[in-house]
Amino acid sequence: MKTTTMLFVSEFEELWFDALQSLMGLRKAGLNHVVFLHVIQREKVAMRRGTGYLKQEERKLREIADIRFIDWAETLFEEGMEVGAHIAIGNVVPKILSVAEIEKVDLIVTARKRRGKLEELFAGSETSDLLRRTVKPVLIYNYLSQSGKVGENPFERLLLALDWSVSSEKVLDFVLSLKGAIKRVEIIHVLSEKGIGKLSKMEAHKVERDNKKRLDEVCDVFAKERFDARPHLYIGSAEEQIEKGASEHKATMIIVGTRRASVWKEKWSGSVAHSLAEKSELPLLVVPADVK
């Protein structure tokens, strides 16, 4: 698993060149190819009564995207990177999936994408839809708070959340493959408050000891690969504690794994990755359990 090709999806309103530049630290881990994708939403150029298909509008939107991509590409070309671009019309998620396949990308970078309230109630957000359907790691890039600025290098200090599932193993492999780009890894496991509450004091201590041991073992794996890694055991709601851990340890990015689930299962049983993708202010990297 190596990250050599990255798909950078931009609608220009939410993901700019500064976000792309902040990811250039990945070159130390083998990144050498960036593919841009801009999707023009169909409703912007769709048939209207009296005017028909807005061909002129489509041409204008394509031209705007082309000018921006050329400007971004020039900087990357001059640094010796390979750059490609796709400008498409249609629905964002299917286009992302199709370009990711065509270009054989290793990582998808996108901003949080929302739908109308009613549509989100039934189908979830576009971000959730993408996370459900892709087999590629997805970096959901959020501009930090209200400042509109991005961190200089999101890979500098990672908060790696592990739940000891199969997807955790995939996340671990993925992070190890980014050697060179990452400075420090804060590894966190969150114990369920409910689960611990049902145990005797002795049993609770045993669970705590076992999990600390597992965290130490993971740190040893990282240490062998010359990563600076620290273990952290938290207790409470996974989503809340991951955010809290990220804040306490000044993480620049959160990394979690995800399993495939239906829209409804996800909606009612909840998914930490999907929930963080909707709320987290930090960039969030989600690695699917069936990553390819």
């Binding site: 050329i70 070309f77 001059e78 010796g80 750059v83 490609g84």
Partner: protein, 130 residues
Amino acid sequence: MAKKVLNVEDDPDIRTFVTTVLEENGYIPIMAKDGEEGTKKVKQEKPDLIILDILMPKESGIKMYHELKRDPSHKDIPVVMLSGVSKRTFLRSQVALTEFGDETVPEPEAYLEKPVEAEDLAEILKKILG
């Protein structure tokens, strides 16, 4: 015999424009919509000249040009760059590629920045192909 010109370009409007210019000037147009297809067509069709865009899906014109000029069997095919990317960037990118251990490559026969007039393109082609 009419000479074959390969146009590697992802924009269908520009492909149509170049095809028209080529046909009107007595050349045989061959089309490819990205660098990957362009490389295949070079091997299959052995064109007399290549008109090459830069920012495209799958493989950029920068990579295709660099590989073409390092390939002994194709390095002598003249190339006209036709792109929105500036010549300065193109030349710098070729230098940047040599920093990774690649050999230096010569400059293209001509560099045209989009948009280009039909007469200018025809004149360049005539100058190179005769």
